[in-house]
């Protein structure tokens, strides 16, 4: 069941803490509430995934080290009044300004906003689903499908999240999963797909999360 505006609002201040949905900061409810969704804003940090030194993505190849290099080398943090120009066909990771904590009986989905979509801005490549029990900022997988660069400034409402009431509480919510890779993230995190057990490991170079 998709939650309506009033049900989302009630969940944000639910007196039963296990049922409470956390979304913070809400700067202007008037602007952010849609009939069945809550608009989310762009934060200040971006991860530009460079390709000049890489022939391909190989999860078997020292993923932890690579992540750290990217985290330190290509990360951009803007001041609130600065801008990031997303060029056509460019792909960057960014995050929501809002921090989320979903209860065990709610799932979420992040989507773009129509006004931005009309300029070619896509906010996720494939992973728009938010698990029950997840906590942290949500990742935007931003790309520009248009033909002109898009100027992005922290605080812009570029996405929206809707919430689904589940048929029952999850048995193993995200926080209890044996490998909750992005739990309580407060900033953009690059892919940790290399930690998945089915990915072949090179024991000499592979590290654990």
């Amino acid at each position: 069941m998709l939650l309506s505006d009033i049900d989302i609002a009630k969940r944000l201040v639910d007196p039963v803490l296990q049922r409470r949905l956390v979304v913070t900061p809400i700067i202007s409810a008037r602007e952010q509430f849609g009939p069945s969704s809550l608009d989310v804003r762009l934060s200040t940090d971006f991860q530009r995934l460079e390709n000049m030194n890489r022939s391909h993505i190989d999860l078997n190849e020292r993923p932890a080290a690579e992540e750290k290099v990217y985290r330190e080398g290509k990360r951009i943090i803007l001041a609130a009044n600065e801008s990031f120009y997303l060029h056509p066909d460019e792909f960057v990771l960014a995050s929501t300004l809002e921090f989320f904590r979903l209860p065990d009986d709610l799932a979420g989905r992040i989507e773009g906003r129509s006004s931005w979509g009309r300029h070619g801005l896509l906010v996720h490549a494939t992973a728009g689903f938010v698990d029950p029990g997840f906590a942290g900022v949500l990742t935007f997988e931003l790309s520009n499908a248009g033909r002109l660069p898009i100027k992005l400034t922290p605080g812009l409402r570029i996405g929206q999240v809707c919430f689904f009431q589940m048929s029952s509480r999850s048995l193993v919510p995200y926080y209890a999963k044996h490998l909750a890779k992005y739990f309580e993230a407060t900033t953009v995190e690059t892919s940790k797909a290399g930690y998945d057990p089915e990915v072949p490991k090179n024991p000499a170079t592979h590290s654990t999360p």
């Binding site: 505006d5 009033i6 609002a9 009630k10 944000l12 201040v13 639910d14 007196p15 956390v22 913070t24 900061p25 809400i26 700067i27 202007s28 409810a29 008037r30 509430f33 804003r41 934060s43 200040t44 940090d45 080290a65 690579e66 750290k68 290099v69 330190e72 080398g73 943090i77 803007l78 001041a79 609130a80 009044n81 300004l97 921090f99 904590r101 906590a135 900022v137 922290p154 605080g155 309580e184 993230a185 407060t186 900033t187």
Partner: protein
């Protein structure tokens, strides 16, 4: 810093508290340093696989880890000490000595970071200063450097030191300042309170507060008297440091003192070279003056009282361990500083108050206490609701589909709007959270199972997570404030 510290018994609750503070600070510094070195190692390996410098970083990491191993050999004893279980004298000495060595080595290696490729300061440090001082343009940049030379540089002072002629200086001076931050504190907003002190010097220079006070006092001979004891300008320096202390306390409250006290407690002995002779009044004098000033502002220091008491005991014991000549010298410095500053304190306070800076008040302390709970539940604290959740919930219950107008709905929904939290509250809440949570994290790091070694990564992750929450809070608060400005102007 260069030799093994003296060993003393942990024979009171306050001594134990002091040891816990030192242990937490040492592990924090160690884990931050380790993170920086590992980042450098990866960077060098990926970018310059054949470079000689890779060996240097590897050596530093190995050296640090060897000393860490020695400390970890005492895991059992630390675990027992943490839980108040008795240790015999030899065991207690071994723990304190191993901890002292880890601290000394960590601080030594930190100084060598100066020779490695530089990292850059986090932009959130500027967000914090801009917020505290209400300046859109700080006219000061932040750079990372080593621990023992981290302070504020004025372009004018440097030009004077390198003998640039007066007429040339005009072309080179832009009135800018550089605030230096220790490498290890790059990700640590709790340590950035020191930057507020350094920025206090920038404001002091601009408004000539200490210079004005010193000029007036020269006629009474007070400042000269102190200056004659050591070196020229010392009296003026002591006044300038007090002005900067008051400015930092004015905008940040008691949390402005915390990094200074923790770093000093961690030092194996008092280094007088970093005290009065470097222009600062002895720290106990600074603490007393700042606490008195905060009391005048109506700000309680109660939440930090245990740190002050522990620091005092630690200081007294270190003074006792000094040789007689040093001890007498330090005690005499303390008396002189008190004598010099006592008649000036009210004038300094009044000048700082008249700068028109955002004042940290008791309501900020109270709100920080509440925000600390959000940090404890691992949530960022960039904003808070003004209305009670229970009130909003009942108001939402009164809305009915079909009969409620959109304006009525928006009016109730507006109760969910949050206000941005000032940086000073974020830092204060961060300190309160740290002081209330570190002991439990130490317990997790040193499990109470015979023969089990401590896992320092556990403490490292706690440090990293707390940093992440505080950095996110400062970042989001900055954006929040900017959006409100945009909405207001629209």
């Amino acid at each position: 810093m260069s030799s093994t510290p003296a060993v003393r018994r942990v024979d009171s609750d306050l001594e134990r508290q002091g040891l816990l503070y030192v242990l937490s600070e040492a592990l924090e510094k160690f884990s931050r340093l380790q993170q920086i070195l590992k980042r450098q190692q990866i960077f060098i390996k990926v970018e310059h696989a054949e470079a000689e410098s890779a060996t240097a970083v590897d050596k530093l990491i190995n050296y640090l880890e060897a000393h860490c191993e020695m400390f970890l050999g005492n895991s059992d004893r630390v675990a027992r000490l943490l839980r108040g279980k008795p240790l015999n004298e030899a065991e207690e000495k071994a723990v304190i000595q191993a901890l002292g060595i880890l601290i000394v080595r960590t601080l030594q290696i930190h100084e060598l970071l100066l020779l490695l490729p530089r990292e850059v300061a986090k932009p959130q440090a500027s967000f914090l200063l801009r917020d505290c001082f209400g300046r859109s343009d700080l006219k000061a940049s932040i750079v990372l450097t080593n621990q023992f030379s981290a302070y504020e540089y004025r372009f004018e002072d440097i030009l004077e030191k390198v003998n640039v002629e007066q007429k040339e200086r005009v072309a080179l001076t832009h009135g800018g300042n550089v605030l230096c931050q220790a490498f290890g504190d790059k990700d640590n907003p709790l340590a950035w309170a020191v930057l507020a002190h350094e920025y206090g010097h920038v404001l002091d220079d601009q408004d000539e507060i200490s210079k004005g006070i010193v000029r007036t006092e020269h006629s009474s001979g007070g400042v000269d008297q102190l200056a004659q004891q050591a070196e020229p300008d010392l009296g003026a320096d002591v006044v300038a440091e007090t002005v900067a202390d008051f400015i930092a306390a004015h905008v940040l409250g008691p949390a402005s003192l915390m990094p200074i006290l923790f770093v000093e407690m961690m030092q194996p002995r008092l280094d007088v070279r970093q005290g009065m002779l470097a222009g600062h009044p002895p720290t106990p004098v600074r603490v007393q003056l700042v606490c008195d000033y905060l009391t005048q502002l109506g700000v309680s220091t109660k939440d930090f009282e245990l740190v002050f008491e522990t620091y005092k005991l630690d200081y007294e014991r270190k003074v006792q361990e000094m040789d007689e000549a040093q001890r007498n010298g330090l005690e005499s410095m303390e008396k002189q500083a008190q004598k010099l500053l006592s008649p000036l304190v009210s004038e300094i306070a009044s000048k700082v108050n008249s700068l028109g800076l955002q004042r940290f008040g008791m309501q900020n302390v109270e709100r920080a206490r509440l925000l600390q709970q959000s940090l404890a539940s691992k949530q960022p604290i960039s904003s808070r609701r003004s209305r009670l959740d229970s009130d909003i919930y009942s108001a939402l219950g009164s809305l009915k589909c079909g009969t409620t107008t959109p304006e009525q709905a928006y009016k109730v929904l507006a109760g969910l709007d949050e206000v941005a939290v000032p940086g000073s509250e974020i830092v204060t809440a961060g300190w309160l959270y740290r002081l209330s949570s570190f002991e439990e994290e130490l317990m997790k790091t040193f499990p109470d199972e015979p023969g089990q070694r401590a896992d320092l990564d556990v403490y490292g992750k706690y440090v990293e997570k707390t940093d992440g929450l505080l950095l996110k809070s400062l970042e989001a608060a900055d954006v929040h404030a900017e959006i409100l400005r945009r909405l207001t102007s629209a």
